[in-house]
Symmetry: C2
Subunit: 404 residues, 2 copies
């Protein structure tokens, strides 16, 4: 699953902030001509430092971050310190220009969970999909509602997203055809580094010991397929065709200076979901479609925080493994909505793009780019890795009449 290097972010809105020299996100890259030698690297401005040459540790000469992540928090911290020392001491001669690298999947996804933790998104979606009822169901106030997605179809930024076929109701008949309502949701994902033990729930206070880093996520959704299939067991094929993840994983440690308050939770949570200190993150997203910014929600608006999500998903004794990915659900705030479902009222009120065209849902060829800037309390800013996908047309499916 190789993709072109998109370190420079490509087209899009006005976010001109880079990684800088201190954020140091991790990724897996190849250089052309040596695709059989994927290595772990860190991004330094617009360059990549090859950790496989810097450290004499086989975990950095692998096609994934899983082995390094599994070493645990002390190793993450000391590695980061060594990288900073090396850069201060002249390791710049080891830097590879990012445009010479081909980014790959940064880690092998173990279990993938997608939450639904934005009050605004849940409210907007409930109003659109279940008009006349309370948009927020009773359970939503008590726990971060979520479900398991398909880990085998999480793809790295830049991978084309083929318009999926599926079953849905069209003109009163059930058909199998390419989706007519292809949506995408802007999300933030958290990556588990350390595995836990089956039967032992994690507390919210253990979050930083287990979570390695942060990625951006595009959660592609076939709304017509999802609407037909989802009762009573939840989303399945309406989501499982592709989920895009950024090639760069930002260490959680780098986001520590961007921690901020999150919304007050009322009713108060039960004790096992309480957190000490602020666990919002001042991360500002920007999703663009063919170069037009269509949404710029703030991640600190999320009602349920990441430590609560991790505590909830292990509260029944479920273990986590290195490479588990859990995503926030659509990030929508009071002003900005992170999905076309919300932005266009399920396609009824199309958006106008800068080129004058309209979109209810995504067309073939559409180029979706999710970017984000982290705002630290000291004024420092740096970006997260981009998540980008271009919609490829549905493929003819052998033997399927409806597909032709």
């Amino acid at each position: 699953m190789l993709v072109e290097a998109v370190l420079d972010g490509g087209s899009g809105g006005g976010l001109e902030v880079g990684f800088g020299r201190d954020a140091l996100p991790y990724g897996v890259f190849c250089v052309p001509g040596r695709f059989d030698e994927p290595r772990v690297g860190v991004a330094v401005d617009d360059a990549i430092l090859d950790l496989g040459s810097l450290f004499d540790d086989p975990v950095f000469r692998q096609p994934s971050l899983n082995a390094f992540m599994a070493q645990g928090r002390a190793s993450w911290a000391s590695t980061r310190q060594h990288i900073k020392s090396a850069l201060a001491g002249g390791a710049h001669e080891r830097l590879i220009a990012a445009e010479h690298a081909v980014m790959q999947m940064p880690f092998e996804v173990a279990d993938f969970v997608d939450f639904n933790s934005s009050l605004q998104h849940a409210t907007n979606a409930g109003r659109i999909l279940r008009p006349g009822t309370d948009p927020i169901r009773p359970n939503w106030w008590h726990l971060p509602v979520g479900y398991h997605g398909r880990s085998g179809t999480v793809v790295v930024s830049g991978t084309p997203v083929t318009r999926p076929h599926g079953q849905f109701v069209n003109a009163g008949a059930v058909v199998f055809a390419p989706t007519q309502r292809l949506d995408v949701e802007a999300e933030v994902g958290f990556v588990v580094g350390c595995g836990s033990t089956l039967g032992d729930p994690l507390t919210t206070a253990q979050f930083s010991d287990y979570v390695f880093g942060v990625v951006l996520v595009l959660d592609w959704s076939a709304r017509d397929v999802q609407a037909f299939e989802y009762l009573p067991l939840g989303p399945f094929l309406g989501k499982s065709f592709a989920t895009t993840m950024s090639a760069w994983v930002m260490p959680l440690e780098a986001l520590d200076p961007a921690r901020t308050v999150s919304p007050t939770q009322d009713p108060p949570t039960l004790e096992h979901l309480r957190v000490d200190g602020p666990w919002g993150f001042d991360v500002r997203l920007e999703m663009s479609l063919n170069g037009t910014v269509i949404s710029a929600p703030h991640f600190d608006s999320m009602y349920w925080t990441a430590p609560q999500q991790l505590a909830h998903l292990t509260s029944n004794g479920a273990r986590v493994r290195p490479g588990d990915l859990f995503a926030s659900g659509t990030v929508s705030d009071e002003h900005e909505s992170g999905s076309l479902l919300e932005l266009t009222s399920d396609g009824a009120k199309p958006l106008q793009l800068a080129d004058g065209s309209n979109r209810g849902y995504l067309d073939d060829g559409d180029d979706v780019l999710l970017r984000a800037v982290v705002h630290c309390f000291d004024g420092t800013r740096f970006r997260l890795g981009d998540a980008r996908g271009v919609v490829a047309p549905a493929r003819p499916v052998a033997g399927l009449d409806d597909a032709r």
Copy 2:
């Protein structure tokens, strides 16, 4: 995740059929004192043939079947033929008595999907959980309804199942406490051997090229937790604490002589879900609780067949990977129900066990054993690997008031 060897099936009902000498299921085992040397073996009657010593191929000296399964159908067939030749030619001196082996997880589960493909189960559950409505939703007739489960908590037969905590409504209040409605469902699982390509759906005719074998599955369910959480995104923590799988994987080829007709599908499916030939399997299950047989459903009653499940789950272009597991959902037929939800009407009509005690749902210490016999058209019979779990009491959870 080591467990005691349960090759002989332990206590239970009247199924006295063994593996025999021709079925040849695969598993991963250790011998005591050499737990660092897991090997792939096949069961021959009550013994195990060590394939790591028989074949000069590293795929058999690994702690999982994944590498062998990924070799594909031609390799599966030739390996099976070589094993039969070796046994005919005197390999019996290489056999290890099963009681000297400790069975392990047979493969690393990639993605885990659980379907809901029994018409009787869907009808029974719908009547109990949604009285006064049509128990079967419209989508059910058009596709095998399913969802993604947690692959990281699939455990091998014999692993204790700890009663999970979770949030549910009790006396009008939302509490976090050990589940009061611990259920278990009898299921059959299919194991993907070969991976497919993202974007390329598999047809029902490709089933035997991709599916390596069959396991028995116990799908543990906290019904109170599930009831509180499942709208609108489906089951999550009510299921994700544990799913038990048999240690032995029966090759699909061994079940070929047991293929039989499955129920007529009306309305007819759309073209991409049509199958050639009979794709039911004459597999007769028997679930016992503390030695009392509580259900003996026939697997050929399932409305949706396994080739249809595989075609459906890839129909949106989702790929499969070696080690993907998809389970049937509760096997209930016209006479027998494969879950306590159905057997006790959600606990309202307790079952009486042979020791005189009653069960609405599972008590701590309860011993659940799922066994199955494959009936071939020529009269041959052999069993599948057992799936067994004993309920361990809920553990105190640090810092959680409700848990104490």
